[in-house]
Symmetry: C2
Amino acid sequence: MNIGAASEISLLPVKTIRYYEDIGLVRPLRSGNGYRDFSDTDLERLKFLQRARSLGFSIEECRELLSLYEDRNRASADVKAITKLKIQEVDRKIAELQSLRKVLTTLSEACHGDDRPECPIIEDLAGGLVQQFDMDRDLT
Amino acid sequence: MNIGAASEISLLPVKTIRYYEDIGLVRPLRSGNGYRDFSDTDLERLKFLQRARSLGFSIEECRELLSLYEDRNRASADVKAITKLKIQEVDRKIAELQSLRKVLTTLSEACHGDDRPECPIIEDLAGGLVQQFDMDRDLT
DNA sequence: GCTTGACCTTCCAGTGACTGGAAGCCCTAA
DNA sequence: TTAGGGCTTCCAGTCACTGGAAGGTCAAGC
C-alpha cells in the first residue's frame, strides 16, 4: 500500500508518516519504484500512533507504548503507570489554565473597554497590580 | 544597567532578553565596552514582557500589547478585545484537556494494572475501543 | 602586575513535532 | 504524447527559547 492510502486509513498526514519513518517509528519496505510499501503491520503501528498522539502522548512515550504493544510479555501495570503520569500531567495543565483564566477575566472585567486610553489590563501588565502569576514554563 | 541586573529585576533569563533584542522587542543602548546598557524604559518593557508572556500571550501578541502600552491614544477596548480572545483560547484548551482526561481515566480504570499482559489501554490504542477523541492539533 | 572568576559578547545548533516548498521521478488515462 | 496526480528527497521554517563554544572585560585579591 502506498503512502497516500496509508495516510487516509491511519488519519495521519503524508508528511507526518514520512517524519515517523525518519525517526524510526515505522519502517515500511520499498517497492521496485522506490515508493514506500506499507504492510498491515505498518498500518497498525500508524493507527496506534495516531491514537496515542491524539491522547497527548509524546513521541517518546509513543515509542515506549509501541514497544509495550509489541511485547507479548508486558505487564499491564507498566502501561497503566505511563497513563497515570499522563493524567497527572493533564491535571497540572488544567489547573494552570484555570488559574490563568481567573487572572485574565479579573483583568477583563476591570476594563471598561471603551475608546478612552485608561486600561487596567495594560496597567497590570506594566505594574503587576494583580499578584504575580507564576506559571510553569511548559504550558504545553 | 548590565544584562545580568536587568535579568534579575525583570525575572527573565539573560538568554531570553538577548533573544528579545534579536527580534526587536527591546533595544538597549551599548556601553563603550560593547555591553548592553538597559535604561529604566527598557526595564519597564522587559517587565511588561515577562508578565504578558506568563499570562500566555504569544510574542506577537506581546508586540501588539507593547505598542498599545506605548500609545497614549489607544482605546482600552482594543486591549480588552485581545484579552477576551485569549480567554476564549484558554477555555478551548481547558475543554480539550478535560475531554482528554476523561478518556485517559476511563482507560486507566479499565486496566487491572498487574503483571499480566492483558491491557485495555493498549487494546484501545491499537483498536480504538473508545470512540475517536479528536483533538485540536495545537494543544499548546 | 598578575591571576582568578564572574560577567559579558557573538555565533551556531538543537529542541518537538511537524509543515511547506522546490525539484524531479513514476504511473495511468485520454 | 501529454496532462495530472502521486511519489521521492532535501532543505528550510515554525515557536520561543536554550545550550554551548570561543573569546573579550572587569573587579578583587595577592
